[in-house]
């Protein structure tokens, strides 16, 4: 899946660690999601949507490659 996590995080001037602490996951997990190496579970995806105050579809989209 493609995602806009890095862009959304940069817009808020948050570090990966800040976002990881908010979500209760490790910084490495945030890094893996941003790089597209890992697709998060639904609970984490909903938490992300809640943190960025948007829909899951606004963050994640099907892989176009």
């Amino acid at each position: 899946m493609d995602n806009r996590l890095k862009v959304l995080r940069a817009e808020r001037d948050w570090t990966q660690q800040d976002l990881a602490d908010t979500l209760g996951v490790s910084r490495q997990t945030i890094n893996a999601i941003e790089k597209g190496k890992y697709d998060p579970s639904l609970p984490v995806a909903f938490k992300l949507a809640s943190v960025f105050e948007c829909l899951i579809e606004d963050i994640f989209s099907p892989d176009n490659r």
Binding site: G24, V25, S26, R27, Q28, T29, N31, A32, K37, Y38, P40, S41, V44
Partner: protein, 217 residues
């Protein structure tokens, strides 16, 4: 891979130290086996076959300790040579405690295995020998407990890494045991000491974890 980086890679460091450990241990054990008046004339050290496998067994534990020490040093200094490889340990609130606990218990395990050799000489009672056999089990149980506590502090991706590492370790160990079992059945090799299974599970788990981290992080 760059030659400079290859020399610094943890596997090359561990492999190099491991090679010399096996070399020195084999020479030492051959010496003890050829000296029947020494205290090493019984049990684990009693045959050349057992002595060779004991060397491999201690190598597994030694590799584990060296790996834990390398992790410890690297974590203390994130800008060290290991950082250049892009390899990163899984960060969690319990990771430092886990590494410390595993390193201490692995050392205790080696001490327990070797000291039980000495204790066996103190009595001929089969019951006492049975009790002595439980001595190395205590640090082994503490290692399993440390792993269990560590897993509870991990997030979903880290749990996936642990699962892949466990499957890697489990599959290689079981196929290895099956192969050795057939070797024994067809009398290709004599009796094979099964105590090496525990350390090999942990060492293979470490390798599996390394590979999974490289894949996901």
């Amino acid at each position: 891979m760059h030659q400079q980086a290859m020399r610094k890679h943890p596997f090359f460091v561990v492999g190099g130290i491991g090679f010399w450990l096996v070399f020195v241990l084999n020479i030492s054990l051959d010496f003890f086996n050829n000296a029947p008046t020494t205290i090493f004339s019984g049990s684990l050290f009693s045959s050349e076959w057992n002595a060779k496998w004991l060397a491999v067994y201690i190598l597994f534990i030694a590799l584990f300790i060296v790996g834990a020490m390398i992790n410890h040093i690297r974590n203390r200094n994130p800008d060290s040579c290991f950082g250049e490889m892009g390899y990163s340990e899984m960060e969690s609130p319990g990771s430092k405690q886990y590494q410390k606990s595993m390193m201490i218990n692995a050392i205790l395990y080696i001490v327990a295995v070797i000291s039980s050799e000495f204790l066996l000489k103190l009595s001929d009672s089969i019951y006492i020998h049975g009790l002595i056999a439980f001595i190395p089990i205590t640090p082994a149980l503490l290692m399993a407990k440390a792993l269990s506590s560590y897993v509870k502090t991990l997030d979903e991706l880290q749990l996936k890494v642990i699962m892949e590492a466990s499957l890697f370790s489990l599959s290689i160990t079981t196929i290895g045991c099956l192969t050795i079992g057939f070797f024994q059945l067809y009398e290709v090799v004599p009796n094979f000491p099964v105590f090496w299974i525990f350390p090999s599970v942990f060492v293979l788990f470490g390798i599996g974890q390394y590979l999974a981290i490289k894949k996901h992080f």
